[in-house]
Symmetry: D3
Subunit: 238 residues, 6 copies
């Protein structure tokens, strides 16, 4: 029995509000239940030093959590003067996931920065960030194409991400905070619309797991991502 | 003629959405036109070292701007590893403003932290932060009183803040970004409901100003704060 | 009755010792009573990146306090690895105040850095810094003009600053440490010789104040600045 | 054909030199081919603040790379003033992996810090670190048991880690630098002697991958870890 | 021929102005020619953690250079966010030198911090700092003895320091900036009044040197320190 | 009687293992008894900004200590976010020492970075670093000459370093940790093969010393360096 009463393969409600802010070239407020992440895509007509003059673009991400997004207030990373290892790990994952579906030559020598800021946290902030970032990226690239700055669409297909885990011995989809903080194991899967995997991660927290469990988590992730792909589609058609 | 077509003494639309997030003891999304600030009030049952054992509470604030709150993306302070001078100046001002209406003995030996995070910026983020922070603080204190943790209400009255400035030679109320970035002078006034002043600041940007101008700015601020006090009242009654 | 026995509108002794150090293009040791600040003006034949190639100059300031300038030793900011919010707020104010009287086109594409280091503190270090910085800037610009590097004098007029506050219910001029640490409200005013205002700030510390009080503080500031302008004049003629 | 001429399921030579340094309670120089990592285990009779007084121990890890462990010199993290995101991600993984086989109650209220410093890098430094750290931890715990400080052995079983990846379309075991820098996808698997999984990670670098590929990587990892378990056993019997 | 016209064994004018600032328990402005250093001694009724409860005191030092103490402006260490290696090396030397003449048991469980801030630099700032710090320390300890906080004088004798070097092939005493920046070798000697050595350092800059040269530098240092001891004596009798 | 039973003028065993790592242009594992330092020389075809375009090269050094090189674990400087004053002092000394025997014009516009990382510490890490760095530098320069990148040998002669100190009243050579931590005074001497001195430093720790003692320390250093020069010669002929 899950604390929320959900079935093992049941996602929380997915909400995607496109164009949530005015200034960004793409933006979205994505919700996986009570987890709410604001993602903005900023187009910059320059690339990092290691890519200069190579005719290729770049997609990167930064992640942050507002101090009181969580049950108890966490300290502000800007005030502490550094980003935690967790923050850096997450923003590296987001960037890799979006690059997996982007053709850097087609993007041209420009960079798109995806800022993922967690307004409210209830588990799954990194997977909501990736799923929302795809929409923000899509909107920003649409703008570049409409402005005639890009000819060939650099985004091959959708990418989405979802967490799964073993909770009280059972594989479950889309962990909320109550589950996440007590899971035996938890994983994050980044999947493409064509079924391919961009990233699979599963970590033992309180108990190690076997190969069958890994496969069951992956299958749950496929269920969840199918639902997210549909929500992404609705958002970009809105 | 103001870029927005507003009259010199006309505020932008004020929106205050209380209880915007779940976890914080008080929270609000405040908007002054396109400026949107999320403010949360976190109650902590401890005080800073310099107050320990003195039977007094403390109210303090932190301020941040999401990287793409602005027209072009700014760098993330957490990634740069330090808060800018501007950020620190603003958060010090917010904290002082709220302490001006709080009875620290009545609050008891606990701290309330006001996190003001700018979701979207269009001028006046510090004054929107102060005005919203009062509502978040009020909500958090209401909770403490309902829980029986505080007997006497530590909040004496409302406090609100608004920017005013000299734009193209004319005193105007509630500068938006277009005005703010070209103002001859700009000021921020923090006023109490009883008419008293908690903070007055007016800075020459492109032209110095005279005593008469300072007084006119203050009078405009009174007009604006009256409107904010009403919006605060509606928000806490919601 | 003020702790020092001064009348409410009485300044402490102002001392300005020009050319206090050898290497700087302009330098001064300024004293407001026991507050002593060493200000140097350094001319650099380059401008910050945002001004390059625009044919304009820049004036900026840095502020520091020697660890034992104060009654009890404070920690050294260089050892702590960052400047406090207070330090940054002060150095931003000093820079703005001097820029208010400087014609950046006439200065030419060069920067003047004003370093204000407090040797001994007894209240009013930021206003002594501004008042001394004007003399150091004047001396440095005189040197540039004598060397034929500048044709038109970029400094339009004098600027000076002084603190005022409400102490035990009474408006008083030029607060010393005993007053400053117990004031109901304190303010800093940056005034031009022609009577215009470059910056007005008044902050409630232990009690908010009304409009009449703000005006009385400003009038006291005018009295103080008149005296400072005279001392500045004597210093540059020395 | 692999650059090294190895078969797809062939590990590089594994070398484990126990007691490589004098001062540490456990130490090892582990080699996976030309990758050489020095791991030390330091026993500290204290635990982190969040565990104090709970009668439990802790195992944590830090990771570093000597500046010229790599083909071209990298900058020294101590000189840059911060650890990279990659470094933090790796040291978090090492710590989690070792905690997966350690009974914290049996360890008692003490901490063991595993320092993994890469002397020479040729791919697979994180997996060599984990595999070597288990030996260093085992040696340190043996010392504690011999000294009578621990009664029940807190280490349930061996843990080892190995990288696998898709290189030129083929799944291969134990990537060296030439393979790692050109792999389509690469993964790291942390396995227990009983076959269970502590961590599975597989990341698309130049091409996403399918479920079958994920399973083939896991099977290669099982082959590699079996070999590492044998080398660990030899090392602790030496 | 020295640039200053001084004889090889001729010091610059030594000036020591005791009680230069009001708040410090001991303070001095020391000059070696155009090198001017403000030294304050701050008595703190606590010791560093490693000495707590051992009945011993501590003497330590911090060193800083005002940004425009030098010919061209250097960046402010507080703004850069760290102290340079040179600064740390110097402040460690100053602390060691003063501890060499202080009886820590007689000082009692308190710390004296010597802040050495260079107001103007013309070579020899570290040796002027040490020589001035002894006077500031002496004044602070005198105060403790007069207040009855210390019974036995913890300062055994005077300590002074001076730089010497090989300039254009000749050993010379008390290098100024012109000499220092072109010396073949330069050294710093910290001597006690009884002739003993607390620290000897001599570094090849443009040419290595032989044993005879080392001895000649030491002899010049004795000449210089004799003069400094006399100036210290005059200062504490003033 | 020395704790190790060595004679006063007896060095510990010197071991120098050249080409210890694969990637560096020069590398060495040097041992002075139980002190083990890995030194790598990295050739970079660029120079620091202050030397650009001057046709000269540069030699610099960085120093680090693995956290558990010592008896008890020290904190990792990369994790603390800064290098200690001791670390910076040592790496400055290493760089100076190697530059004393290098002809920068003959080296050409390139930089050689010497990374000295202490694997195990038992006193004398800085002198082992210098002595080993010379071998690594020699090997790297040999490579440049064999590749035809340098014509004239830029290394004039050998440089070596050794510590000496006063232990229980007696001058002794090559202090190990037991002696170093209890010495009355300790010194480090950097000597050239022709007998000249690159650096002499002797510091009073528990007792000041006289001129005769300084000379005896220098004589012991000559004995030690003669032995190191022979070991360096064997290493580069290996």
């Amino acid at each position: 029995m899950r604390p929320s009463g959900r079935a093992p393969d049941q996602m929380r409600a997915i909400t995607i509000e496109p164009n949530f802010t005015r200034h960004a070239e793409g933006s979205v407020l994505i919700g996986f239940g009570d987890t709410k992440v604001l993602v903005t895509a900023s187009v910059e007509e320059r690339v990092p030093p290691f890519l200069r003059g190579k005719g290729q673009g770049w997609v990167t991400a930064e992640y942050g959590m507002l101090p009181r997004a969580t049950h108890t207030r966490g300290s502000r990373e800007a005030a502490k003067g550094k980003q935690s290892g967790r923050t850096q790990e997450i923003q590296r994952l987001i960037g890799r996931s979006l690059r997996a579906v982007t053709d850097m030559a087609a993007l041209g020598e420009r960079q798109i920065v995806l800022d993922c800021d967690v307004i409210q946290a209830d588990g799954g902030t990194r997977t909501a960030s990736i799923s929302g970032a795809w929409v923000a990226l899509r909107l920003a690239v649409n703008g570049l194409m409409q402005a005639g700055k890009i000819e060939k669409d650099p985004i091959a297909q959708k990418v989405a991400a979802i967490s799964c885990g073993i909770f009280q011995g059972n594989p479950v989809l889309d962990l909320d905070y109550d589950e996440d903080s007590n899971a035996d194991a938890d994983g994050n899967f980044v999947l493409l619309e064509n079924g391919n995997i961009a990233e699979a991660q599963a970590t033992a927290e309180h108990a190690t797991y076997d190969e069958e469990a890994l496969l069951r988590l992956l299958r749950l992730a496929r269920i969840g991502c199918t639902e997210i792909f549909a929500a992404q589609e609705r958002a970009i058609r809105a």
